[in-house]
Symmetry: C2
DNA sequence: ACCTGAACACCGTTCAAGT
DNA sequence: ACCTGAACACCGTTCAAGT
């Protein structure tokens, strides 16, 4: 029943789903195209009917990750409408880190090297921008309401926050943190971003 | 002549050097043990006499990278003895980013996943700590001289700076920056760290 | 249109054998 | 002690062939 579906145009979807499932228990680096196909119950060469190569499959998986990430970030500030920009930016960054910690191998695929070259995967790029834009909009609002320090471009402050969230996430995934567990690391993130949040305030 | 040396105990060194050389032109992910051995002119299985596995070779390469990084960082503040902690921390962070941009594939190996598990490579750990300690010492000095804002632990502020430098480096390597070249990205780093440096200042 | 099978050119790792 | 050769169990990718 399910098998026949793959013959009706769902194989692409099935391959992406199988990859997402495998990433819950397997390291991104050791995940093979052949194993994904095996899991779906199809010859591994069938994947080439739907993806140009292994990287194209991973790009789709990464894109899905950024869409989920953006969704998580959106939810994190939904109840903070009345709060100021610093509070909201902190919440967005925390949601970012929380996603990376909750889905470490998926995050690794999202940050996989050379997924971004030559603008090969525009869908992925737009998904990245969707998440990035949430930070950017918040910065813009903060600049307009004069709660954030002046900046030449809103992108500058946005990059500071994004860099911090991304940097912290990867350090946790690399095990380069003396916390007892990734869950505890998330709480520690509040301490680590604190000086940045402070520095985003209007000075004068 | 050179070949005979490998039979006299230098093969380990030769394999590390060949890897470093290859990383100047080749992507870290596609670098194979067999290719390194080929370059040295030795059967690839000979490497197992000196390294438990491929990861152990990469760990040595990564260790060497962190030692170089620490050296670069040290040099960057050597002429800034009289400057305050913010200036010196900014210089250290900039040296960090400069290293990553100058040696992108080497940096990728240094940040390779699972090099750190179970404290398998203590030499690598100590090299990482050597670089980390440069930031930590600077923070400690800044706290003593009351030029930095109070913190529960000096490690907290250190992590903020390290996270920013590491995060920015990886974003550049991933191509997730709209700069025209990596070299330009280094200049942009000053803008991105700025709010953090500001937030490190003593508030009251 | 979509999938299979065989084949190609690779990998990392192991192990008996050579010097 | 140190290195080689053959072998094992895999990869990603291609292409002719099947339905």
């Amino acid at each position: 029943v399910a098998k026949r579906a793959y013959h009706h145009g769902d194989l692409k979807r099935a391959l992406v789903d199988a990859t997402l499932l495998l990433l819950k228990t397997e390291a991104a680096e050791s995940l093979t195209l052949r194993e994904v196909a095996r899991r779906v119950g199809v010859d591994h060469t069938a994947a080439y009917r739907h993806f140009e190569d292994k990287r194209a499959l991973f790009a789709d998986v990464a894109e899905e990750g950024f869409r989920q990430l953006a969704e998580d970030m959106r939810k994190s500030v939904a109840k903070l409408q009345k709060k100021n920009a610093q509070v909201r930016l902190r919440a967005l960054a925390r949601a970012y880190v929380a996603f990376a910690i909750a889905h470490p191998e998926h995050y690794r695929v999202m940050m996989g090297p050379r997924l971004n070259v030559e603008g090969r995967f525009p869908g992925l790029e737009s998904a990245v921008m969707e998440a990035y834009a949430l930070l950017l909009d918040e910065v813009k609002r903060g600049l307009l309401s004069k709660t954030l320090r002046r900046a030449e471009k809103p992108q500058d402050l946005t990059m500071s926050v994004w860099t911090m969230a991304h940097g912290f996430s990867t350090l946790v995934l690399l095990g380069r943190l003396r916390t007892k567990s990734p869950a505890i690391a998330l709480r520690y993130f509040d301490t680590v971003v604190d000086p940045l949040i402070e520095g985003l305030k209007k000075t004068s």
